[in-house]
Amino acid sequence: MADNAAELVSLTIDGVPLKVPKGTLLVEAAKQIKQEIPVYCYHTKLGPAGLCRVCLVEIEGTPKLQIACNTPVADGMVVRTQNAKVDAGRAMILELLLVNHPLDCPVCDKGGECDLQDYAMAYARGTSDLADPKTSKPKGVDLGPTIVLDEERCVVCQRCVRFDDIIVGDPQLVLKDRGVRDMIATASGDPYRHNFTGNVTELCPVGALTSKTYRFKSRPWDLDRTQTTCTQCSVGCQMFSDVRFGVPLRTMSVEHDDAISDGWLCDRGRYNIGFYDAKERITQPLYKRGDTFMQISWDDAFALWARAITDAIHLSGPQSVGTIGGGRLTNEEAYVAQYLFRALGVNNLDWRAGRQRQATPGSRGGTLADLERANAIVVLGDSPADRAPVLDLRIRKAVKRANATLVRVAPLDVSPVPSIDVVDVAQAAAALPATASSIAVVWDGIDAAAVERLLDALPENVTVRTYITSEQGNARGAETMGMHPRFAPGFAAAENGLDTEAMLAAASDGALAVLSIFGANPALRHPNGPLVRAALAKTPFVVVSELFMTESAKLATLVLPAKGAFEKNGTTLNATGDALPVNASLQAPEGVLSDLEMLVGLAEQLGVNLPAQEAVHAAVIEAIAQAPAFDLGDHAFRTRAAQAATIPADGLRVAVHSNVFAGDGTSAHDERIVALRPLAEALLSTDDAKVYGVSSGDRIDLEAGGLTLHNLSVAVRAGIARGTLVLVDGLATAPANSFAPGAVVRVVHVRKGDSTLVEA
């Protein structure tokens, strides 16, 4: 391969001589001389298919026109991409494509950015001998929760079909029937649904596949486009935000974002943009008096907040003040947050509000390109498919295209690509091929002891690259900026403060006076829900910055309306340590401030001088430049109260699974993606289903230590360990953290599918 890449071939395209690596396809070679060859079925990321035949070129010495998309260059080849013969060939193809194409342009969402319109203008004859009626096919087909399909507009390039197969590894879309009657559909007839469906609307060269969220909304030339970084998860995909009249109408991938997104977006990142103008959005500070919130001014909010902090420090010292959050802030905001609180002597700082302990992979962190090139990949913990969807596509690429071995430790989901699923870390190490010279470890940042054992068990003399998929988009940035009880910015040693666990423990003992929570939702996401609720109830002054009344906001004293990522500027640090720009494309509603603006307001009241913008910027860059010396599972990140899980004898242990669409913030308040939200499900092993006499679709109530969780829908799944009950993380209707960690949960009621109630 390396030899081939080095070997150059000389050819002439349209009279221009050029040299390209052996094996290059003509369609790619032509790009070098800026000559665009029209394509429908070919796509750089999907490869050639040879179906549409619009890419015709003339090759000297070959009588028939050839397709440029599947013809590799050859030494001395003389190619013409434009002449009378080529033009006639292309004109014929376009004439044929238009035989049955409906005259939908005026009502088609693709109008203005459609390859059929564009090529028809550029290459078609402009007239046709067609004297017969066009075929009619289904229009407005509801393909699934995200996509509408117009069968008549389909040019049968099969890009969508190949995307599912080649990129996702979940071949749901197929071409059905044949000839001129062929149609795109899911093979099963079930709704088209996986975490990446939206990409097919971009791959589709025509208006056959369109997003429900963007249907009949705009023309491309009426959109204002801003490039930014998706902050919904820690991958940090580059995306365009397309806005019209102040409304975010759609997001689009950045095709050449090879380093990070590889040109794709997941459906959460793509579609969860409808919350910005949700009517439930908080737009004024809310202050709790008794049981009710009242609207107050920002001035009052800052004054109350500052006074609470000053009083606490005065009365009980800075250790009575705590701050949680940072994973949803920009780097600049996280930096300023820790700066401000540390300036007050407050060291109780922790970005960690959920299950995750560590976000920075440390000295052996790798790039996404490294991940794609690994010989073997070990996934430990929660599934990257739901925590970092587009990163998971790299894993699939490595497995599907480079035959990497995928080993998953105690997975809770089914892999779309071949994987070796093992029950523990020891087995994982044993499952690795002896020939693997580079191993990637993808960890969810949760079980530090397990990852340490895994690293110890890996063979020596292999290159190991480590990755952490985070619960929040900028977890790594917050950690790097020093929103951590043991680290100052750039992982410099800091005066030790309490971590989240210790703050919650202190709070429930009545030892915290003020707790400020920035863009985090521990009440729903922290593994010990009962402890969080007790702690927040006991703390006299709890501040929460949020867009919506989350479970945590409801327990606050002061709720501050915050800007979302499309409404502010800054930078973010993704899972692989790339500092990426966050650019505002929307105007925030009046009365809403960014966390940075809130911190500035608070600092003013407290009389703390914050560094100027340029100084913050420089500090952020410097912090990111520090190379951390630690590894995965380092003791600096461990919690002081780690609990060991054992298999219960007479009940079930709860295991928690991420879902990309869960959460009670932005995804819960976006009516465009309601259908994508996970159900309140309890996943059980086949064995346990037998023990409890339940089957999929039944509803159960759970109980442990006097706490209950009602009306979960049972889903029986093979591959789940006996004694384990899997709940989806982050559902306010069925919080996975309803019980204390390690609690043995009992099934108390079973309602069969036919509604009969059975006492367990």
């Binding site: 179906l51 026109l65 599947n70 193809i93 044929l96 001998d129 049968v156 044949r178 000839g179 062929d182």
Partner: protein
């Protein structure tokens, strides 16, 4: 009359479905000899030197095809193509039903010759009876120890899997067949890679026609010289020709390759009394017609190609002066449009468009501009497709439009003259 009995030997006389009858006439002797005494390379040599060419349509030299297999240690597969759906072809159907052990022995020899341990036969969905008969034959051969593990105590294992298609013409195209065999949509694959390099399940694969493989048995028995001695310069041996259309005794006739076209018509009983010859389509629905001036040509690959047509799979359809060539063209174009898998723009849209226009002609509603359109569209879609189906639409249509333009003009809308 040059009718011979090689593959057809015994058909209609004895019950060749019985393994005992087949063996009593020398059946499976070549198989035993190959496994015991011959190397795979020696079997390949027979195929190669005999000059045997593919009988599935393309006429590719069989030995050469086998030699394209790469010398790696990946599993390799032999696939017998019994999807026979080319309009006018019905020879594989007959061989499968009436001499199933010969077909099986050919498959076994082919598999051995390419060093395979697993052979497949893909049987057209409509051949229900053939499927039943062949499966029984396979079981009998397995019981006799000719298929399975350690054949003839040689340590050589060979498994044969029977697969029934679902009745799509396109699944006869070898890469569509492989997709279908893998459980995928029956649509041709983009080549390269060719099946010899990455075929069934991505492994090196040879796809051969039923008749091609069956001829291996007599070639091994009689020697390659015997086969190569018959025929013309580059078209050797014998061929089962399916003769149909306006002849008095349509049927399968086995003849030496190179038998003159005129003689073939006579073998099949000649034209009906009082009728005159108009055309013959010599190589299945995909081939162009040949006419009076071609009647003395030898029926072989080269001569048919020179006449602008092909021998193809040996479907020989005769047309006399009662033929409505507009209807015939419509019928064939409709067939191809219906059977197109629909992947390629030219084949999918072009076939459909031509069908729609010809349908109007059949009903006397042709437009003068359509005459140009029929020629222009059918010729431009040719050569631009992924597989040969798309290139099969033009030949017959073009040959009869050019030869019998008056038949097409006669179907134009009559201009109504108002008094």
């Amino acid at each position: 009359m040059p009718v011979v009995k090689v593959l057809t030997d015994g058909i209609g006389e004895v019950d060749l479905r019985s393994i005992d009858v087949y063996r009593s006439r020398g059946g499976y002797v070549q198989w035993e000899r190959a496994v015991r005494d011959l190397t795979p390379a020696a079997v390949l040599e027979y195929a190669d030197k005999s000059g045997l060419r593919g009988r599935g349509g393309a006429g590719f030299p069989t030995g050469k095809k086998w030699s394209f297999l790469p010398g790696n240690d990946k599993p390799r597969y032999l696939v017998c193509n019994c999807d026979e759906a080319e309009p006018g072809t019905f020879k594989d159907h007959m061989l499968l039903e009436f001499t199933p052990h010969l077909v099986l022995e050919g498959i076994l020899l082919g598999a051995y010759g390419i060093g395979s341990h697993h052979a497949f036969i893909y049987i057209r969905g409509e051949f229900k009876e053939g499927y039943r008969i062949f499966t029984q034959a396979l079981e009998a051969a397995r019981a006799a120890g000719f298929v399975g593990k350690n054949i003839f105590g040689s340590g050589y294992d060979l498994e044969v899997t029977v697969h029934r298609g679902a009745g799509a013409y396109i699944c006869g195209e070898e890469t569509a067949l492989l997709n279908s065999l893998e459980g995928k949509r029956g649509e041709p694959r983009l080549k390269p890679p060719f099946p010899a390099v990455a075929g069934l399940y991505g492994m090196p694969t040879v796809v051969n026609n039923v008749e091609t493989l069956a001829y291996l048995v007599p070639i091994l028995k009689n020697g390659w010289e015997w086969f190569a001695a018959v025929g013309t310069e580059r078209s050797k041996g014998y061929k089962v020709v399916s003769i149909s259309g306006h002849v008095q005794r349509p049927g399968n006739y086995e003849v030496p390759v190179g038998t003159p076209v005129r003689e073939l018509i006579e073998i099949a009983g000649g034209l009906r009394p009082g009728r005159t010859f108009k055309a013959v389509q010599p190589g299945g629905g995909s081939s162009a017609c040949i006419f009076d001036e071609h009647l003395d040509l030898p029926y072989d690959y080269e001569s048919m190609a020179k006449a602008g047509s092909m021998m193809g799979s040996g479907a020989f359809v005769v047309f006399d002066d009662t033929t409505d060539f507009v209807k015939a063209a419509y019928n064939l174009v409709r067939f191809f449009a219906h059977e197109s898998c629909g992947q390629c723009t030219p084949c999918r849209e072009g076939g459909h468009w031509l069908e729609a226009v010809l349908e109007r002609f059949v009903h006397g509603r042709g437009l003068r501009s359509d005459l140009d359109m029929l020629k222009r569209v059918s010729s431009t879609i040719t050569g631009l497709n992924l597989c040969a189906l798309g290139d099969s639409i033009e030949p017959f249509l073009k040959s009869v439009i050019n030869r019998f333009p008056e038949q097409f003009e006669g179907k134009l809308i009559k201009e109504t003259v108002t008094a």
